[in-house]
């Protein structure tokens, strides 16, 4: 962009120097040669000044390393120089944005030892994933702008763009409430939470640390503090990462739908204050240990954007392997990449969960609604029939279910609860 006119002037000078030299020699007029020599001197000095202006310039970037798709990201670059450089251009490559190259001008002079800060704001307009930011390129020129010198500083950062997440409305029906404010995490029944409910007489087996000494002194018998039941919801998200369920391309693909749905589930569950763990089986086991809070959400999303539909283990087997890690009375949400599940095996697993008081919900991505990338899809009628059969099978067992099609808008589909 920038050097076009400068190069034009340099070309102009080079051309006229040649013309002047030819005229001076051919017509034997030293005045032409004098002007040519003066301009050759100007070009030589400009070239030397352009090369020298880059010496001793360093830069570092300050950037929060992750954002969601569509977020604005402020970036700060601190530039330091040793020679009082002027008019230097700082070019940063911000990978998550379509506008990859960000150019800024530091008019200078850069006082030796002092740091100057340049700022720009970019958008995460590219799809989720891990992108690179950098390197930083410093472009400088001589005062006349005839020659440019550039150096690339190896200031490269990784930047994670998380998928756009949506509120999953159906999650609150399963025991969690979608709210950012502190949730009611206990119930008025005696349990193990930190919220006191009252005092009662000591019973054998009660923890001595719970003895309420003032009440004991008043009553003359051992009294213990009673606390409420802790209701912090506990979610397990099980992902289907089977490579046989890959279909579609780009934003309209099963990978996109499965991972976006999982991200939205994790987001909604974390916002409701619950513990969340994630399990799946790609080419390597995918596991996010249980945790809660913003840091855990970030960790889970980091893991999620590295996942891929590259496994070979059927979903039923993944669920079976995860079964021991699911605590009783918790909630399991299974995200499948297909409607064609083994109903017999699924029925057994649902019963196993129910026997432990675990609530199960399923989100099924219909991979045959996406353009196939390998093999032929079954006939449309067969897919519709399979969907109906699966819905009936799951609902008859009290499992909330939602089928996601290629034509569905994920925000609306996930925000619309469990009804189809």
């Amino acid at each position: 962009m920038e050097p076009s006119r400068s190069t034009l002037y340099r070309t102009f000078l080079l051309c006229v120097i040649v013309v002047l030299a030819l005229l001076g020699v051919a017509l034997r007029l030293p005045a032409f040669l004098a002007l040519a020599v003066a301009w050759i001197g100007l070009l030589a000095v400009s070239w030397i000044l352009a090369q020298r202006s880059l010496l001793g310039i360093t830069a570092r970037r300050e950037l929060y390393p992750s954002a969601f798709e569509g977020d604005e990201v402020p970036v700060e670059i601190a530039v330091r120089g040793e020679r009082g450089a002027r008019m230097i251009e700082v070019v940063d490559e911000f990978g998550p944005s379509i506008t990859v190259e960000q150019r800024m001008l530091e008019p200078g002079p850069l006082e030796p030892g002092l740091e100057r800060r340049l700022k720009y704001v970019s958008y995460c307009s590219r799809q989720w994933g891990t992108h690179h930011v950098g390197p930083i390129r410093i472009v400088s020129s001589d005062p006349a702008g005839l020659f440019h010198a550039a150096t690339s500083l190896p200031v490269v950062d990784e930047f994670a763009v998380f998928p756009q997440v949506y509120d999953v409305a159906g999650l609150s029906e399963l025991g969690a409430r979608s709210t950012l404010i502190p949730h009611e995490s206990s119930a008025g029944r005696s349990g193990q939470s930190l919220i006191p409910m009252g005092v009662r007489e000591y019973r054998a087996g009660d923890d001595l640390r719970r003895v309420h000494w003032p009440a004991t002194a008043r009553r003359g018998a051992l009294m213990v503090k009673e606390v409420e039941v802790d209701l912090a919801p506990y979610f397990t998200v099980i992902l289907d990462l089977d490579r046989r369920h890959r279909a579609g391309m780009g934003r309209k693909s099963t990978l996109e739908y499965v991972l976006r749905t999982a991200a939205s589930l994790i987001w909604s569950a974390t916002r409701s204050g619950g513990f969340v763990q994630v399990a799946g089986m790609g080419v390597a086991p995918f596991h996010v240990p249980p945790g809660r809070g913003e840091n855990h959400l970030t960790f889970a999303l980091y893991e999620l954007i590295r996942a891929n539909l590259d496994g070979t283990t059927p979903l039923e087997e993944v669920v079976l392997q995860t079964l021991p890690q699911v605590p009783p009375s918790s909630t399991v949400v299974i995200v499948s990449g297909t409607l064609f599940l083994d109903l017999a095996a699924s029925g057994g697993l649902i019963e196993a969960f129910r026997s432990r008081g675990v609530r199960v919900a399923m989100l099924l991505v219909n991979n045959f609604s996406f353009p196939a990338i390998s093999g032929w899809p079954p006939p449309r009628a067969e897919i519709v029939e399979k969907g109906r059969e699966l819905m009936f099978f799951l609902r008859s067992r009290g499992v909330p279910v939602r089928i996601l099609e290629e034509s569905d808008d994920l925000a609306a589909a996930l925000g619309g609860g469990w009804s189809p």
Binding site: F32, L35, A38, G70, T99, E101, Y123, S125, A144, G145
Partner: protein, 375 residues
């Protein structure tokens, strides 16, 4: 808000004015030195050149959008061919030693210098002014004598000054910076570079006076007596300095009245007013014509942007798709982003969000800012 380096912009036009004046005065001294003794005769170059540059600068904004970029390119090509032919004929005339043809050609070049300065005032590039000044200087050097020395020295030095000022002005205009650097040190650097070249060339011509081209020397020519030369040079210097001051004052008080330290508001931001909640008292309520208000806004924004670009000569051709059209715009990233959002808003089924609209607005601002400077 974006700050304009007004001091540097004025200094750039002033440098071009002085460079043109030096070339014209040099050619007068070299070729018509007998008429140069009249002070009245020496008044027309600063008046004509100053009027051209100031006129160009003052009507720049009004004429900028009249001609399409494609038409402009064709006119430029045709003018380049005609100008090249004039230079070729003049060069041949001078090389064969035809003094009369050379004098007539010089008058044309002096007139063209004013035309190029007018175009420079429009903001249509400065290369024409430089090339024509160079042609005038070459013709002056062929004639030899004091005119050749003055012409070569002034062109050599003023070109160096112009390059420094132009580079700084262009950079500070293209990039938004939080605070503009003071113009003084930049101008001083340019002046230092110019003085160095002045000194080298002046020293050269003192030691080796400029000799005329042999064939032109044989033709009848009038030379200034040495006793009148000092007075003539003094007159020229006085006129040049006086006209430069007048030119600068006219620029500052007339066309560019804004102070360099003031913020120039290029884009007016009007806070968006949200649609009020519908009245539910049973009275008639007009329904919104669409359920995708942000998409509609983005489409309208795209249309407004392309209409404005068309006014500046960047019209979308009938054979171009929006994406192909975006490829011709700059900055490339912003153009692509706006086009992508437009395509999603216009042809997509999903409703876009407020943040998409803000992204589109930002991209539109970047494109318009860029092309506003170039128009």
């Amino acid at each position: 808000m974006r700050r304009q380096p007004n001091d540097l912009l004025r200094a750039r036009l002033l440098a071009l004015f002085l460079l043109s004046l030096g070339a014209v005065y040099g050619s007068i001294l070299a070729w018509k030195s007998e008429r140069a003794t009249s002070l009245l005769f020496l008044l027309w170059p600063p008046l004509l050149l100053g009027a051209a540059a100031l006129g160009g600068a003052s009507i720049h904004e009004r004429l900028a959008g009249l001609v399409d970029a494609h038409v402009r390119g064709r006119v430029r090509s045709a003018a380049g061919i005609v100008y090249g032919a004039i230079l070729l004929l003049l060069g041949l005339g001078l090389l064969v030693g035809h003094r009369a043809a050379g004098e007539r050609g010089l008058v044309i070049l002096q007139g063209l210098q004013a035309v190029f300065l007018l175009l420079a005032g429009f903001g249509r590039g400065y290369l024409g002014t430089l090339v024509n000044a160079f042609a005038l200087t070459v013709a002056s050097i062929l004639a030899g004598g004091t005119g050749a020395a003055v012409s070569a020295t002034l062109l050599g030095g003023l070109l160096a000054f112009f390059l420094v000022v132009d580079h700084a002005a262009r950079k500070l205009t293209e990039y938004p910076v939080e605070s503009l650097p003071p113009a003084g040190p930049i101008l001083a650097r340019g002046a230092l570079q110019a003085l160095a070249i002045f000194a080298v060339l002046a020293g050269w011509f003192v030691v080796f006076p400029a000799a005329p081209y042999a064939r032109l020397a044989r033709a009848a020519s009038v030379t200034i007596p040495p006793d009148k030369l000092a007075g003539l040079l003094g007159n020229l210097l006085f006129l040049a300095v006086g006209s430069a001051i007048a030119f600068y004052l006219a620029l500052r008080l007339g066309g560019g009245s804004a102070e360099s330290s003031e913020d120039v508001k290029l884009v007016a931001h009007v806070p968006a007013r949200r649609r009020s909640q519908p009245v539910t008292d049973g009275s008639f309520v007009e329904r919104t014509p669409t359920e995708k208000p942000w998409s509609v806004r983005i489409v309208k924004l795209y249309c407004r942007t392309t209409e404005q670009l068309a006014r500046w000569g960047r019209r979308r051709r009938s054979f171009q798709t929006p994406r192909e059209y975006a490829g011709t715009l700059a900055p490339a990233g912003a153009a692509l982003e706006l086009t992508e959002l437009f395509s999603r808003a216009r042809y997509g089924r999903e409703e876009l969000s407020e943040s998409d609209f803000e992204r589109a607005s930002q991209a539109s601002r970047e494109i318009l800012d860029h092309h506003r400077r170039r128009s």
